[in-house]
């Protein structure tokens, strides 16, 4: 195309910024977790048809996130100069990508079996999901600050704002951990009445949802490394 265009430009010195797709990638992860929240709701209400439908939608989101991740990776050749270290950027992209991966996995497990447990466990599961979603949404806010950071080319104040958000994500993830442990304990306490298959299923779900918050915390932590080691 360029050959026919009779254009002689050296301005391909401007490479495409990886930060915009990074933000888009984070919002895909957030979207997947929001849909997972709806799916957990439907699961607890016994609406398995909706669980199936949401599972399909989460699959699509996870795939879109994968494509964005691949694009970012393929465009970061060694000749690209950025205000941050390229390997730091890739290191933070990885756990961010795991958020939608794990959401997809949990969503699949939701479709396998109906919810058959006590009201207390239902509440526990919903609380765990709500806290995880909060953590991921806080993480989305953190990624949003990247564009402002770039705009002011990392002003001290903006860096501090971002670092505060990292600490908040970490604190929220800790809360998720507590809820998760509590819930798993309760699941085992009811093993007599609910049966082994149900226990395994519910534990798998609780661990998976907790893992999502873990990935968000991990990504936040590496985002801090990226900002600090600039």
């Amino acid at each position: 195309m360029i050959r026919k265009e009779y254009i002689r430009s050296v301005l391909n010195i401007f490479a495409s910024s990886p930060f915009k797709p990074l933000g888009l990638h984070a919002s895909k992860a957030g979207e997947a977790v929001r849909k997972l929240g709806e799916s957990v709701d439907a699961f607890c209400n016994g609406d398995m048809e909706k669980v199936e439908q949401l599972n399909h939608e989460i699959d699509v989101l996870e795939h879109e996130a994968d494509v964005i991740k691949q694009t970012i990776r393929s465009e970061l050749s060694s000749s690209i100069m950025m205000p941050v270290n390229a390997s730091d950027l890739l290191n933070f992209l990885k756990p961010q990508d795991s958020i939608s991966d794990v959401a997809q996995e949990v969503s699949f497990w939701l479709t396998l079996r109906k919810f058959e447990a006590s009201e207390e466990i239902r509440k526990g599961l919903l609380e765990l999901m709500a806290k995880t979603l909060e953590t991921v949404e806080e993480y989305e806010k953190l990624v949003d600050t990247l564009s402002e950071l770039l705009e002011t080319s990392f002003s001290k104040r903006d860096v501090e704002d971002s670092l505060t958000l990292v600490v908040e994500v970490e604190e929220m993830e800790h809360q998720v951990d507590l809820v998760e442990k509590d819930l798993i304990k309760k699941i085992f306490m009811e093993e007599e009445s609910s049966g082994g298959a149900s226990v395994y299923h519910l534990v798998r779900l609780a661990a998976g949802i907790g893992d999502i918050a873990d990935k968000a915390e991990n990504a936040a932590d590496r985002l801090r490394t990226m900002i600090m080691r600039r």
């Binding site: 050959r3 401007f14 490479a15 930060f19 205000p83 080319s153």
Partner: protein, 345 residues
């Protein structure tokens, strides 16, 4: 000797073709940065570019034009032997440079019109020396090495200036504000001014690539004295503005959509640095590549942490084109000269 000498007419046509190319591509490259940042619309850029390019060419283009015409090859010595030799040699030089630029543009190689014309004029000097018309020592090697040195220095100087300017903006303005987007809005006005500045700078340096050989021919045929006639500079200016109006706008559009990362503060830094370096060289009568200086300036802004992603692989392409252009243009020019002599012009 009349002004309607066929040689002169050919020199004017070839010079206009070079001017068209410079306006269509080089000027468009320099102006594309203003469109990319969203500071100016394409229409505004074309009006600014046309006006200031023309002004730069007419009012500040004579020094570099004189260097291309008389600074490298001793045309006065050659014209003592035969006044037509200079006109033929210079015609060969513009044809060779124009041919190389056309080829490079079709293949999107980052070749500089400045490097091409300097190489081509040198080629004429070398073949003249080879044929015993002048001595090898009469070629102005000192001036030539100063020119080639400036090709290395100008992008580096652009990078340094841009780095300093953007760092200053960064520490004194961007990092102290609550609303960086408002700062960007304020820089739109400043960037409009640097767009004028860079067009003026470009005109003052690059017009020489088109009309330097024409002036050499006029001078040798005793149709022009030691000062360059105004109409020559006006001709070059018109040619470049014509190139911008007929093709350059498309190049600007293409570039503008590619470089949305260049916000007004970044664009201002890169343009101000580039224009200053180019004007400095125009003042020192040295022909340099505006586009290569601009690339250096963009890298400078990137080094200061101002850009999300800069692709440094362009540097290698430039270095290669730099090394290839001078010998190729020189050789082509020498061959064209021999060809023109052979068919008895």
């Amino acid at each position: 000797m009349v002004l309607f000498d066929p040689l002169l007419i050919l020199l004017v046509i070839a010079g206009l073709y070079m001017a068209w190319n410079i306006g269509a591509n080089d000027l468009a490259n320099a102006m594309g940065t203003s469109v990319g940042s969203g500071a100016l619309s394409i229409k505004q850029v074309i009006i600014i570019a046309g006006t200031f390019e023309f002004a730069g060419a007419v009012f500040f283009g004579k020094r570099v034009t004189s260097t291309i015409a008389k600074g490298i090859v001793p045309i006065d010595t050659i014209s003592l032997l035969d006044t037509h030799l200079v006109a033929i040699g210079m015609l060969a030089a513009v044809l060779a440079a124009g041919f190389w630029i056309t080829l490079a543009t079709f293949y999107n190689l980052p070749v500089s019109t400045t490097h091409s014309i300097v190489g081509a004029v040198l080629g004429f000097g070398l073949i003249a020396a080879y044929q015993g018309i002048i001595a090898f020592g009469e070629i102005q090697w000192g001036v030539l090495s100063k020119i080639i040195g400036s090709w290395l220095v100008s992008p580096l100087l652009g990078a340094l200036f841009a780095f300093l300017i953007f760092s200053l903006i960064r520490y004194s303005i961007l990092q102290k504000t609550d609303d960086p987007y408002m700062i960007e809005n304020r820089f739109v006005i400043l960037q409009t001014m640097t767009a004028c500045y860079i067009a003026f700078a470009h005109g003052s340096n690059d017009v020489a690539n088109a009309v330097g050989p024409l002036y050499a021919g006029l001078h040798a045929l005793e149709l022009a004295g030691t000062t360059i006639p105004l109409w020559v500079m006006v001709l070059g200016g018109i040619g470049m503005v014509f190139g911008l109006a007929t093709w350059g706008y498309r190049v600007i559009e293409t570039i503008g959509t590619k470089i949305t990362e260049l916000t007004p503060t970044r664009g201002f830094s890169a343009e101000f640095a580039t224009a200053s370096v180019v004007v400095l060289h125009s003042f020192s009568s040295l022909p340099i590549s505006t586009t290569h200086t601009l690339v250096g300036s963009v890298i400078g802004v990137g080094l200061a942490g101002g850009l999300a992603a800069v692709d440094l692989s362009v540097i290698w392409k430039i270095v290669v084109s730099w090394i290839v252009t001078v010998p190729v243009a020189a050789l082509t020019s020498a061959l064209v000269f021999l060809g023109l002599m052979g068919i008895g012009i």
